[in-house]
């Protein structure tokens, strides 16, 4: 096993995002990477798998174990399957002043109540943030309306 440290490229992040990440004490590297929900990774990896299938007769020869198992994992742990639904989920969550990290944890775990949501993402209740239980319930309700299978 090799460990490599290529240089990380700084991508532009808004000032607001940096402040929130600091509150969560996640660390600088988080700012340079964009977080993905399992359902988004599922679309990405499935697309890559399809591309490989078009190119060769036996795509699994080319696709490594880790790719195949990652695809298996994200397919299993994604509630939303079609691209429209996945886009809607990110849109809905993006309207609620969440950090990328919080957005992805909520999108991955799909809590049903505000209580569950806060248990999964305690930073929602950090002092100074305006996430009332009503606001969280509204957000979860909007999510539940997204059609999972079309």
């Amino acid at each position: 096993v090799r460990i490599r440290f290529p240089s990380l490229v700084h991508s532009a992040m808004s000032g607001e995002e940096e402040e929130n990440a600091a509150e969560l004490k996640i660390g600088d590297e988080f700012l340079k990477a964009k977080c993905l929900m399992n359902c988004e990774v599922s679309l990405i990896l499935e697309h890559k798998y399809e591309q490989l299938q078009q190119v060769s007769e036996d795509p699994m020869n080319q696709v490594s174990q880790v790719f195949e198992k990652s695809l298996q994992y994200v397919k299993r742990f994604s509630r939303y399957k079609n691209p429209d639904a996945v886009r809607q989920v990110r849109e809905i969550l993006s309207r609620h002043q969440l950090t990328e990290f919080e957005l992805c944890v909520l999108g991955n775990l799909c809590p049903e109540t505000a209580e569950e949501a806060v248990a999964m993402v305690p930073s929602l209740k950090t002092k100074g943030r305006a996430h009332s239980d009503e606001a969280i319930e509204k957000m979860l309700n909007d999510l539940s309306l997204v059609k999972r299978f079309e």
Binding site: V1, E29, A33, C35, N38, I44, F67, V121, S123
Partner: protein
Amino acid sequence: MFCLSELEDTVRVPPSDLNLPLEVAIKKALQKLFLDKVLSIGLCVSIYGIKSIEGGFVLPGDGAATYKVRFRIVVFRPFVGEVIAAKFKESDSNGLRLTLGFFEDVYVPAPLIPTPNRCEPDPYNRNQMRWVWKYGDDEFIIDDSCQIKFRVENISYPPVPTERAEDAKPFAPMVVTGTIDDDGLGPVSWWEACAPISDDED
């Protein structure tokens, strides 16, 4: 969780691949370099795409061409405090081992299993110990019957060993320590169809 990371690195395309279309050759080299490797930013599970390629110089004495490439990869990058869904892999007297399939080094040590509990020989598997949580009058065996949610407590990156014994376990470049001792954590069956708990309990 998974993240999309942009990197810049120097990539060598061996002479045998120089007849391939450039992007294909570079992608092949990137896959060999990064797929299934643990970087400072996480475990690389896929190359996402190439943003730019520069160079193509052949250094003296080297048949290969060297390129400076900007590209993006999909990495699995656990965060401390993150709740992740996993499956049971095995258990022993030290605690549980959980797996995500593509990543199998998640450990829940005994102190992070809810109490009271006990560890006993697994009647179905001679080599294993199993953990049983006692809650009120009920007992819950921790096994592979359903999904298990854990919260990341710590991530460590052990140094690559210089010497290995013949029978040593495969080297794990990234090890995640998790807890299942909190609300919503542990086997999901513990939380499904929860009856309301009366106020004088707990």
